[in-house]
């Protein structure tokens, strides 16, 4: 993995993490907003500008790819590189969680 990717995705923002996590299942932009609201019990409500910008950036970096299109709504899915990045981030969050509980 190149250093530019490392620099922009580690540690990941909450927004990026939840978007990437949502795309384990193919989803379009608004479906991601909806899914993240459910996951966080409406604590996080992502704005459309933020979703569009993050999707464009992740697509350019190869973390996600469009799989199909329905009524102008592009449906995205996580790529192998995206999964790899997500796993590294999950491990970091797990460490954080374990340490916060007072030791591994």
């Amino acid at each position: 993995m190149d250093t530019k990717l490392k620099k922009s995705y580690f540690p990941m923002t909450e927004t990026a993490f939840y978007i990437l996590l949502s795309l384990a299942t193919p989803r379009h932009g608004y479906a991601i907003i909806d899914h993240v609201e459910q996951l966080t019990k409406k604590r996080i409500s992502l704005g459309p500008g933020t979703i569009y910008g993050t999707l464009s950036k992740m697509k350019k970096d190869g973390l996600i790819e469009p799989v199909k299109e329905e009524n102008n709504r592009k449906i995205y899915q996580i790529t192998r590189l995206g999964k790899e990045i997500l796993e590294i981030e999950k491990a970091r969050i797990k460490e954080l969680y374990m340490n916060s509980k007072g030791g591994i």
Binding site: T15, Y52, T54, N72
Partner: protein, 180 residues
């Protein structure tokens, strides 16, 4: 009935512009378009619409972009093409719950917008300033009287100051966001 309002708001003051459009809505004037430096409004009963403005750099995936906003409850009111992209004005009816009234909900995407605006407008401002500076100097060589060069020189100073101010303001806002 239609009303046209002249108001000078520079691109580093998007919040001010959004607030202005919202205030007009509360008074029953709904934003239609922006032409010849004037905001055009149409009269109808007052409504509590909030306005949000985005700059989209490329227009090739405009349909996909608009679909996400539309699904999230934002209506695209007007677009103002400039450079290769376009300003896009969105509105959404504000309810008592007052949730989801932002189109950017994290620091990174807000910083991205400000950086995009800073880049395009700084390029444009620099090009304009250099051009005016060139004509001012050319005038010094060609014309025998100094007075004839005054209008160009004045334009140069106004444009240069305006765009330097814009650059400084946007940089300040970006730094503030990045530090939080």
């Amino acid at each position: 009935m239609e009303k046209k309002v002249f108001k000078f708001i520079t691109v580093d003051q998007l919040e001010k512009e959004q607030e202005f459009l919202h205030d007009m809505d509360l008074k029953g004037w709904h934003f239609k378009c922006y032409k010849n430096l004037r905001y055009h409004f149409e009269q109808s009963p007052p409504a509590n619409y909030v306005y949000r403005i985005d700059y989209k750099e490329t227009l090739e995936d405009l349909d996909e972009y608009l679909a996400i906003f539309e699904d999230a409850g934002w209506e695209a009111v007007y677009s103002y093409p400039i450079f290769q992209g376009s300003w896009i004005y969105f509105r959404k009816l504000s309810t008592n719950e007052s949730r989801d009234l932002e189109i950017f909900t994290d620091k990174d995407s807000m910083v991205d917008l400000l950086k995009k605006v800073r880049m395009h407008w700084t390029w444009f401002g620099t090009a304009m300033s250099l051009l005016l500076l060139f004509f001012t100097i050319l005038n010094l060589f060609v014309s025998r009287s100094l007075v004839s060069g005054v209008p160009t020189a004045l334009c140069f100073f106004v444009i240069a100051i305006l765009y330097v101010k814009l650059f400084i303001n946007l940089t300040k806002k970006i730094k503030q966001l990045e530090q939080n």
